[in-house]
């Protein structure tokens, strides 16, 4: 029972003369862990930025969970159920860990801005629930003890976890992780892998950019490979690994 969650087709993105994404088509199914790999500058992060509404694609089709998200605003994308983390960690450094996660709940809370000022009982209750939910998410990713610490004082690995908790706070259907294992030691990477599997088992589909080939191969159900803005391969990890075009992209062509 494979059901498409995200479908993009013929996506192009140009920056001046640079064709950063050239006719990209992808389908991500509900419940899978989908890997996105490719050499540096291949367009992986650009694709992430397009999928999360930070960049507007020049042309193409982009539907998510039955909704057309082509050139939608980022907050609409988040509301539809796509959340992300960043390659270079981007937390709200001067807010506590708990508050960082609470910001993620923004899109799921109903209190209007005037409700926030007048604070009727419903708004107070909602605020309390946001706090409870945020604390639960810190437990979930394994850093409950750091709730009141400023995000900038957390260790690198914990900051990565906090970013995941903040993204999960938006109740995503698709969680897009941009190199979550970057800079982690082998033990942290193992823990991260377990966390990602737990998230998937709880019903969240995962899109993963990663350089750690071992992690990708051991974790992903399917993989797409980008090179110079084009998708050069897609399929099961084993098939992709032995695809000559992929080997060429990573290692170059052997001289005849």
């Amino acid at each position: 029972m494979t059901e498409a969650l995200l479908e993009i087709n013929g996506i192009h993105k140009r920056f001046g003369g640079l064709h950063a994404l050239n006719d990209i088509a992808l389908t991500i199914n509900k419940g899978e862990i989908y890997g996105l790999i490719g050499p540096n500058g291949a367009g992986k992060t650009t694709l992430f930025n397009v999928l999360t509404g930070l960049y507007q694609p020049d042309e193409g089709k982009f539907t998510f969970n039955g909704r057309d998200l082509f050139r939608q605003k980022p907050y609409v994308v988040v509301e539809s159920g796509i959340a992300r983390t960043f390659q270079n960690i981007r937390l709200f450094a001067n807010m506590s860990a708990l508050e960082n996660v609470m910001v993620g709940r923004h899109v799921r809370s109903k209190a209007s801005v005037f409700g926030a000022i007048l604070r009727p009982p419903s708004a107070r209750k909602e605020e309390a629930n946001i706090r409870i939910r945020a604390q639960e998410l810190l437990d979930y990713v394994g850093i409950p003890q750091h709730a009141e610490e400023l995000a900038c004082n957390l260790s690198y690995g914990d900051q990565r976890r906090l970013e995941i908790a903040r993204a999960l706070a938006t109740d995503p259907k698709l969680l897009a992780l941009d190199e979550p294992a970057a800079g982690m030691n082998p033990k942290e990477t193992e823990e991260l892998k377990a966390l990602m599997q737990k998230i998937r088992n709880d019903g969240v589909t995962i899109l993963l950019i990663e350089h750690d080939v071992k992690l990708i191969m051991g974790l992903c159900d399917r993989i797409a490979v980008l090179d110079y803005g084009k998708k050069i391969a897609e399929g099961l990890p084993e098939a992709v690994k032995s695809n000559p075009r992929v080997i060429e992209a990573y290692l170059g062509v052997a001289p005849e």
């Binding site: 988040v78 981007r90 709200f92």
Partner: protein, 309 residues
């Protein structure tokens, strides 16, 4: 001693008002890195609309006590300035969001001139007296005198400042404002509608500005179409003194500036042997501005430009 205490009290009154206005500058700066030079005019229009409302109500023989009359009139003026603040951002700043920083600065100055001129067309170029509807009792504290109006100003300022800090620290809106100030792009990607937050910031700042404008007019018994310029510049100085972008800094800067100005002007005559009188009090604000910009441009509580993602 009495004079000293008197100057401290006067300084607190004026400083609290500066703080209210400075918050308007600093909140906008925190989110957009933009000095909204039209904010002084918002303050002026808040005062003018309130005075017009009072005169209208009094003219129609509405029988209310002074403080109630004033409250009703301020409640009418606040939505006007909030709408104006919203429109200023929408029309003059938002289209220039991605333009070089100089461009919105110029439109800010342009807007401020437009609003001043519009005000002279509506209310004329002369001083508009503040209606004498408030009690003028004077209390004695340790040899210094303080009017009930001044007491009310200090209390009101304290209440508003507390309310604002609760809003910023404890509510969803405040959290979204802080997140947007730290990194608009990330806030956007976490589902915050950044444009709404920016509009709200302008509207809250304008509401505070309207109240401050009325307090200025009540304290000096008059308002004027050009009053926003000097008051705005002083409040801007207060915001810079405290560290622009920092809310606590704006309050500290406002109160400090009020006290410095008040004490300075109180002793200016003695210090210069009568050569300069207290009418030169404005030099203190700008002396402070110059000194801060030279020696501590990040202000008292400013940590220099936190890394922007």
């Amino acid at each position: 001693m009495d004079i000293f205490l008197q100057q401290i009290i006067n300084g607190l009154v004026v400083g609290g008002i500066y703080a209210l206005i400075a918050l308007g500058y600093t909140m906008v700066y925190g989110i957009l890195q933009l000095i909204n030079f039209a904010h002084g005019e918002i303050v002026m229009i808040g005062a003018m609309v309130t005075i017009s409302c009072i005169n209208f109500l009094v003219g129609h023989n509405v029988n209310l006590s002074g403080p109630v009359l004033l409250t009703v009139s301020i409640a009418m003026a606040i939505p006007v300035t909030m709408l104006l603040g919203y429109l200023i951002e929408r029309v003059a700043y938002r289209p220039l969001r991605k333009a070089p920083r100089m461009a919105p600065l110029i439109t800010a100055i342009g807007l401020s001139i437009v609003l001043q001129q519009a005000a002279t067309m509506i209310w004329g170029k002369n001083y508009v007296p503040f209606p004498a509807i408030l009690p003028t009792d004077v209390l004695e504290i340790g040899g210094a005198s303080i009017t009930t109006l001044q007491v009310a100003i200090i209390i009101l300022t304290a209440v508003i400042l507390t309310g604002l800090f609760l809003l910023i620290e404890r509510t969803k809106l405040g959290r979204a404002m802080r997140a947007t100030a730290q990194s608009p792009d990330v806030a956007r990607l976490m589902g915050v509608n950044v444009n709404t937050i920016i509009s709200m910031t302008f509207m809250i700042g304008s509401a505070l500005g309207a109240i401050a404008g009325v307090l200025v007019a009540a304290n000096y018994d008059q308002a004027h179409a050009y009053m926003g310029f000097m008051v705005g510049l002083k409040a801007f100085t207060a915001a810079v003194l405290g560290g622009i972008g920092n809310l606590g800094g704006a309050v500290l800067g406002g109160i400090l500036l009020g006290i410095i100005e008040s004490i300075g002007s109180g002793y200016l005559g003695d210090l210069t042997g009568g050569f300069l009188g207290s009418q030169y009090k404005d030099i203190f604000a700008f002396l402070v501005l110059i000194l801060v910009l030279i020696f501590r441009p990040s202000g008292l509580m400013g940590e220099r430009v936190a890394e922007r993602a």
